[in-house]
Symmetry: C2
């Protein structure tokens, strides 16, 4: 079989999302899962560059919001990991370093499952006075480690990409303000740059980050209708400051425990959403700014006509130079033009320019979009301007398509039976009346989960929760509903 025909994705996304996802990860050269240790994957250049761009967006935003970057070790001391009682819940899933060379080390240490237990003992040394507050720190481009049973590239790993802010305040109102800012930052990047649709939730009390008072998350839906949590920000109250002794002398000269928040955009999760929501049966589709290569130029040359080939090649270089503000590449490899088209469509390059004898003669250039394979033919002189227009067009197409996709996945139900049916047929978000999102609602949530094969209460919309109608009853216990919640099966 010629290499050409082996390259493409062999299933339709709609028919078999799971297989489609597995194939695109491999064929678009995103990750290599042949590393040989389960849940530890190789980020190949194409996915790494996309992830790096997402990292850069978040770095820029949090630094504008006065966060200082730092870098903590990969290690956590055992006694720090278990200091906050609920947070100690991470212990069953941490990896332990116990040996060095051929010897057992004196005090084993864990690979961080998240940063709190390593960062807060230092905050306790750094923060002394109200003058030191607010203190806003973050670390980016790190990985964390959790011994997950089932792993899947960019969705669940034993090692995965991480980004975390850790903020300390003298008053709870400031912490609440920060949570809103965190969500605004996430929204700005995910909506404007990544074109990923989502809903903001306040998680129910029984489904918070270990140790938090409240957890807030933007969640999207994958093509198989399962929820993908894209980020999370947590109101830690004084739970951790009490456990790790983070105190400050306030203006009134009294020593007080600090209020804390932490925010973690899920770099992997956003990458997974980007791949899965925008991609089609031909491969990735990338928003213009995110694409590692924005414009691919494909020369169509005949080996027989060397003189003409040289001219085509020069013309391609001239175009590349004209577009030097963009990420442009000329594909000079030995493959056939058809192979190249498929290859760069698979990789999701937003715009394609083909230059052959015809284009050389007519002095016209055709720019084709990855999204709908349509485009426009323009003169060399107006090309730069046209690229700008086409970039906007492609972004708009991606955004519209994603919005439509997302809306189609949100349904309402007012009984458990309805929910079961929707889950069997579509999954997605199901908007339903529910008795309570405080701890007294947990029993109903457990029943829901059991009866639906795993659907969970995602939470109430945030910051503006919807109110149930007068006669709305909880879909489980049929008591009067205090909340409108969203229900979904989850990754």
């Amino acid at each position: 079989m010629p290499k050409e025909t082996q390259e493409g994705i062999t299933v339709k996304k709609e028919d078999n999302f799971s297989e489609w996802y597995q194939q695109i990860i491999q064929k678009a050269e995103l990750a290599d899962i042949r590393f040989g240790i389960q849940g530890f994957i190789v980020h190949r250049p194409w996915s790494f560059k996309i992830a790096r761009k997402i990292y850069e967006y978040f770095e820029e935003e949090v630094e504008k919001d006065n966060h200082e970057p730092f870098l903590f070790p990969i290690a956590v001391k055992e006694k720090h990991l278990t200091k906050e009682k609920e947070h100690a819940g991470f212990t069953p899933e941490v990896f332990w370093v116990t040996e060095a060379g051929s010897e057992t080390i004196e005090e084993r240490f864990a690979l961080r499952p998240t940063g709190e237990a390593q960062i807060y003992p230092m905050y306790s040394l750094w923060i002394r006075s109200h003058k030191d507050l607010p203190y806003k720190g973050y670390q980016s481009r790190i990985t964390v480690f959790r011994n997950e049973k089932v792993t899947r590239p960019f969705l669940r790993g034993r090692e995965f990409m991480f980004f975390e802010t850790h903020d300390v305040f003298s008053a709870h109102e400031e912490a609440v303000e920060q949570i809103k800012k965190d969500l605004e930052m996430a929204k700005k990047i995910m909506t404007n740059k990544l074109k990923i649709p989502f809903l903001f939730f306040k998680r129910p009390q029984w489904d918070k980050f270990l140790g938090a008072d409240n957890t807030y998350t933007p969640d999207t839906l994958m093509p198989d209708g399962k929820r993908n949590q894209l980020a999370s920000t947590h109101d830690l109250g004084t739970n951790f400051s009490k456990a790790y002794n983070i105190k400050f002398v306030d203006k009134d000269e009294k020593e007080k425990y600090a209020f804390q928040t932490c925010f973690g955009p899920g770099i992997w999760r956003q990458l997974a959403a980007l791949i899965a929501i925008h991609g089609d049966d031909k491969g990735l589709i990338l928003p213009f700014e995110i694409a590692p290569i924005q414009i691919i130029i494909i020369p169509i040359m005949s080996a027989k006509n060397e003189k003409e080939s040289k001219k085509i090649s020069e013309y391609c270089e001239k175009i590349k130079k004209l577009l030097s503000g963009y990420k442009v590449q000329i594909d000079l490899s030995e493959s056939s033009p058809g192979f190249k088209y498929n290859h760069w469509e698979l990789k999701g390059v937003p715009l394609r320019i083909e230059i052959g004898p015809k284009e050389l003669k007519s002095k016209k250039i055709t720019v084709k979009r990855r999204t709908d394979r349509q485009g426009k033919t323009v003169t060399f002189k107006s090309l730069k301007n046209e690229i700008k227009k086409q970039a906007e067009e492609i972004n708009m197409q991606i955004e519209k398509s994603a919005e439509k996709y997302f809306k189609n996945k949100i349904r309402s139900a007012s009984s458990l039976n309805e929910i079961k049916k929707i889950i069997l047929a579509y999954r997605g978000f199901i908007r339903s009346p529910f008795c309570s999102v405080d701890s007294d609602g947990k029993e109903c949530a457990d029943i829901l989960k059991e009866k639906t094969g795993g659907a969970v209460v995602c939470g109430t919309l945030f910051p503006n929760a919807e109110k149930p109608k007068q006669n709305d009853n909880c879909i489980v216990c049929r008591k009067k509903a205090k909340e409108i919640v969203y229900i979904a099966k989850s990754y």
Copy 2:
């Protein structure tokens, strides 16, 4: 004791470098060694930002040289670690992950001590044909792990900052060319940006990277006269391609083992050199481009005169806005101006502007350099232009001072006794005739080390080795010298 007087460094760099280094690490808030696991340090924002800048310089250079970024897991499989016989020498210093939660994991894995053993098994899958070559990949902003006995911030750690390129070629000449390019990149950054003086060496055969055919390094000297290796690039020949099975089908359709190189700028080591070589008894001195804050504006306000204070504050903002292309900060904290001067001198901020009632009245602004505490008084209108001049001036001063420092540390000796005396009095590089840098010179190197309390042969200058004179004899065996080598005690 008021906080002000506690802040400064209490020893002179010349009198006690070791103590000076320890104090500057802590007092300039570079690293926190109180993390509680030996050799694992916290990079505080000030050092992190400097390191990030160094990383960015290298990322830019290697990408210009067509290296693609990727990210490998932190883990290495045991069987991969020991595949290349000499490289397996890393095994005694690796950390092992053996447990997850409360269970022993099926197959323990190591934390990477360097990337070869994780990257080359994948290269063996990715590289098939001469069309895939050269393949140039790199990973940046990662850390690696070695169980070192003695640790010291930025010089030797159990976890330390890492950057590595891994290149694959079809011919050895291309590998040799790459090594020269690697050294040129290192030179460009270390000379132009970091102002760190160094010599390029080809290491003797007995002191190569484990598994390499040849190792090349730029080495500098620390104020205590000890050698600090700033980077290294290695000609791996086909040693690793044979061990990891990296083969390609060449144009002649024969399958061949690939030639490899790898290059690792020592981010920590460069940071250590930057701190130690440029710093003085008042604190850090940073080249202008490297400084996390380039210009600090210090308002001198009286609490009694609110109206004037407001005007001063506004004037500072106006200056900050004028200098918006630079990294500028106004220090509005409650400390005294004297405290602020000391604080920002400790941190090495290149330029300082003080704005008080006098400056407000005269409409003149004084720009002071960190290096020699001299400066210039200019009008608001000419300030921007003056900053540019002062930035150049400060860089020139740092460069000149470092060059003078370095030259003073290079001496010549033609006998073992002379070497002993120099090492007792000054250390530094000692230029000497030596019998051989091939494996037959190892015996003399061992004697040298023993008789001098640890001095080693750094190597011969590269690319242009010096030739010994007709009657030069090896400083150890007194046989005719084949080489001029440099000798030093090392970190």
